[in-house]
Amino acid sequence: MMDKINWTQWIIIAVSLVAAPFIGALIAGLDRKVTARMQGRKGPPVIQPFYDIIKLFSKQPVALHKLQILYAFLHLVFMMLVVVFLAMGQDLLMILFAHAFSTICLVLGGMSVRSPYSRIGSLRKIMQMLAYEPILILIIVAIYLQTDSFLASSVMSMSKPMLCSMPLLFLAFLSAVAIKLNKSPFDVSTSHHAHQEIVKGITIEYAGPYLGIIEIAHFYETAILFFIIMMFWQTNLYIGFGLETLAFLAILILDNTFSRLTTTWMLKYMWSIPLFLSIANIIWLWSK
């Protein structure tokens, strides 16, 4: 596989690796700005996440022990690998596994330290994975049923937008994105809001540059998620962009209208309504 990569692909990989965190950071900045406006505040500048990262990296590196930091590195590298795989149009299930591995590294890092908050946050993160993972696999199944291939590149060969054949899956996916971005009511493992009862949860024991690494990984993840949303209208990227904006606003409204609910509620909700919608969508595609 490696020998088949030509130089255009190398450039695509390099560009996406560099661009993805910037896009992710901008989305995060916009997120804070729009949220502030929704709450009647002025909000920080859109490029605030960049300032945050620079500040984090200028701090003294402190940690609880060495192993903890290894997991932060693995978390970032595998998130980058997901970007590489997407740019290469690799096998979708493998992309999902690389992504899951990245998340598990974060969980294991949180669990490796003797800290109750970190442990509770990590356990909740696994519950979050348990909640959204089936939906992501079912999306890949739906793509296979239409293209007879697991390759990400096969999405581009579809003549109709994915949204037309997978509308229910798209709705389910939005729930999954809300969980992934830790938006209310799903922000159980860690939260961007100050009202979280377990303080910061999974990332509480990371500080300084190590927290910076996790933040960058989060930017990558945000970029990946929004790229996938755009891919739901892969035939026309302008419409895809519009779709993305709508999804962004929808998630922010959700975030600001709901308060955090329990893990149990999240699991019950995800394994009932979105899972059901997804399976209905799959059966419809299958019987076609």
Binding site: M1, M2, Q60, P61, V62, A63, L64, H65, L67, I69, L70, F73, L74, V77, F78, M80, L81, V84, F85, Q90, D91, L93, M94, F97, A98, F101, I104, L108, G110, M111, S112, V113, R114, S115, P116, Y117, S118, R119, L123, I126, M127, M129, L130, E133, P134, I137, L138, V141, Y144, D148, S149, F150, V199, E205, A207, T264, I279, I282, I283, W286
Partner: protein, 651 residues
């Protein structure tokens, strides 16, 4: 005659373990260890040699009679056991078994001709199983030398002698080798019953309560034996053949289904899982042996042996797939609720065997290759994990996962090896994940099965990462504790860990070099496999696993350069406890000597009072109750088994 001819290797693989078992039984302690090690070396060498040699067949003169005598003898022993433990159900089933064997003898005497085929043979599937049995098995046997030494010191007075233990332990390997090479069903039944007997004796090693669990294992496996003999009798009467070759050629659905039911009992699929969970009471090397190198692998082997070629009966295959998929998801669900380490491992085994059976039922090239891969990778990883848990249990005196916090510092070698084993069960780039990936891609055309597989995979990730998280929890220590390991146990742990690492690193290579050609051979000339399925199969082989290694490598190098070398003790901070930590220094070794120190976090609360807090891992206890869930799953599984028998027109 050539010294290392096929026939001699075959004889060595089957007979040598039994002979050495007798030696181990008769000899004193010191000599016993020697004979076990010698036997291990010989069996491993013979196993490797026979796999290098081309496929071959072997016919024993007068084998018909020898096999029948042996079969009657072994059923006779089980009858005798049934009488001594007064279990009338086992007695009844053994009598029925004996009746069927006698019926077959009478049939043969009255001139009912049965096509005779060769008795033993090797083919790629056999070779894979031989490699597992004759390499992983002996490694566990060597571990057992060290383990049983300290086990015997604390063993209850009811325990059987070490000689008896090692006789059945070593002989088990020979019977397993015989089982996978047998082509004649008479021989196969003999070895099948022999492994049942061995497992009964090994599970009941410690006497007392373990006898009860051993009895359950015997009961369930005798039921399987009954189904097996019934299938063989049916095949002899209806299709006039008594070999696997004949079974596949005749496409005899009823015997196939009966053999599958027998396989389900041995593989402990739902609803037959209770014996394998009960078997956890045995000394840990026994669990390792049952779970990785022998016993349960016999079941999955049998399913893979008899199912190819039955694509004309899609309904039967579908039901087999459903049983497998239900077991995969159901056992994973039950594993989530467990905090007993050995039970988690047991449920995980059951779950993976379910996936193998599901793959066999799907019957596409990719599914078949995935099944082969799961059998192999699972054998090595699970063997290793049991050995680790056995050692951890001997050291900390508990098999509760919640008690395993802090062991990374106390026993770094064992814990690191255990971490490798656990990570190989679910993380890239190890083989189990690649197999699961293939299994998902293979089931894509049947949505119901796929949902089971997806939910099962998600639950698998859940219970493994909880456990991994617990055993690596520790405070900061400038240096790790030095760990003293018994040499026999150390050897086995390190060898198996290296095996897991190497097969994990080379998993894609192994797939393309071995599993893919074997699968192509099995499916050669099949016109019902569409091009799409072959494309998926070939695309899976194309995956560049090297990217995963590159990623892991980059992370490790960056970590080593930027953190490991520069990290100073002054960079260490205490965890945030929402108050003042009671531990004044960053790391306290004394905390590791009292059990509370490992489990809880001490902090200063109001009035300088020191409080201990403790947070447990989730076991979803408010969601699922193991007992109730088991009852429901068993009911569903029984219904599916009855549907299976109905589909085969047995009811």
């Amino acid at each position: 005659m050539e010294i290392m001819s096929f026939n001699i290797l075959l004889a060595v693989l089957i007979i040598a373990p039994v002979v050495f078992g007798v030696v181990a039984y008769l000899s004193p302690d010191k000599l016993r260890s020697m004979s076990i090690i010698l036997c291990s070396v010989i069996v491993a060498a013979a196993g490797i040699m026979i796999t290098i040699k081309p496929n071959n067949q072997f016919e024993l003169p007068g084998s018909e009679m020898i096999a029948t005598i042996l079969e009657v003898a072994i059923v006779g022993i089980i009858l005798y056991i049934a009488v001594t433990i007064r279990n009338w159900l086992i007695l009844l089933m053994s009598l029925a078994q004996l009746g069927m064997i006698i019926a077959e003898i009478i049939l043969a005497q009255t001139g009912h001709a049965v096509t005779h085929s060769y008795d033993f043979a090797t083919d790629p599937l056999t070779k894979i199983l031989i490699l597992i049995t004759s390499i992983v098995g002996p490694i566990i046997a060597v571990y057992a030398i060290g383990y049983m030494k300290s086990h015997q010191e604390h063993a209850p007075p009811t325990a059987a002698s070490l000689g008896q233990f090692f006789f059945f332990f070593i002989a088990f390997l020979g019977f397993m080798n015989g089982l996978v090479m047998a082509n004649n069903l008479k021989w196969f039944s003999f070895f099948w019953e022999a492994t049942t007997l061995c497992s009964y004796m090994l599970i009941g090693q410690d006497g007392g309560e373990s006898k009860k669990n051993a009895e359950r294992a015997l009961l369930i496996n005798t039921f399987g034996g009954l189904a097996m003999v019934a299938g063989a009798l049916w095949l002899a009467v209806e299709n006039k053949t008594e070999s696997f070759e004949g079974l596949l050629a005749a496409k005899a659905v009823i015997p196939m289904v009966l053999l599958c039911v027998a396989a389900f009992t041995k593989s402990a699929l739902l609803p037959f899982q209770s014996w394998l969970l009960g078997a956890m009471i045995a000394p840990t090397p026994v669990s390792a042996l049952l779970h990785s190198a022998t016993m349960v692998k016999a079941g999955s082997y049998l399913v893979l042996r008899v199912t190819p070629g039955f694509h004309d009966s899609p309904k039967v295959m579908m039901v087999i797939t459903i049983i497998g998929a239900l077991t995969f998801a159901g056992a994973a669900l039950l594993a989530v609720t467990q905090s007993n380490a050995k039970r988690v491992l047991a449920y995980s085994t059951i779950s993976n065997l379910g996936l193998v059976v599901a793959c066999a039922g799907i019957g596409t090239p990719l599914a078949y290759a995935a099944a082969l891969a799961i059998i192999c990778f699972h054998a090595i990883s699970k063997g290793l994990l049991f050995l680790c848990v056995g050692r951890i249990e001997q050291k900390i005196g508990s098999r509760d996962i919640e008690d395993m916090g802090g062991i990374l510092y106390r026993m770094p070698v064992t814990t690191s090896v255990a971490l490798i084993g656990m990570m190989s069960m679910l993380l890239p780039p190890f083989g189990m994940l690649l197999s699961k990936w293939m299994a998902i891609e293979a089931t894509i055309r049947s949505p119901l099965i796929l949902v089971f597989i997806i939910l099962g995979s998600a639950l698998t990730v859940f219970f493994w990462s909880k456990w991994i998280g617990r055993i690596q929890t520790s405070s900061y220590h400038p240096k790790f504790n030095k760990e003293s390991i018994d040499p026999a146990m150390g050897f086995s742990l390190i060898t198996l860990a290296l095996g897991v690492l190497l097969t994990g690193l080379g998993s894609m290579w192994i797939f393309n070099k071995f599993f893919a050609p074997i699968t192509k051979q099995v499916f050669a000339g099949r016109t019902d496999i569409s091009d799409v399925l072959w494309n998926v199969f070939n695309a899976a082989g194309d995956f560049a696993a090297v990217t995963l290694f590159v990623a892991v490598g980059i992370a490790f190098i960056a970590y080593w350069l930027l953190v490991w070398r520069r990290f100073k003790e002054t960079d260490v901070r205490l965890p945030f406890l929402c108050g003042e930590n009671a531990e004044s220094t960053v790391y306290t070794t004394s905390a590791f000597h009292n059990s509370e120190g490992i489990r809880s976090y001490a902090f200063r609360s109001m009035g300088d009072k020191i409080e201990n807090s403790w947070s447990s891992t989730t076991y979803l206890k408010n969601f699922i109750c193991e007992k109730k869930a088991t009852i429901w799953l068993n009911i569903i599984a029984w219904v599916i088994i009855i549907i299976l028998l109905g589909e085969a027109h047995l009811l």
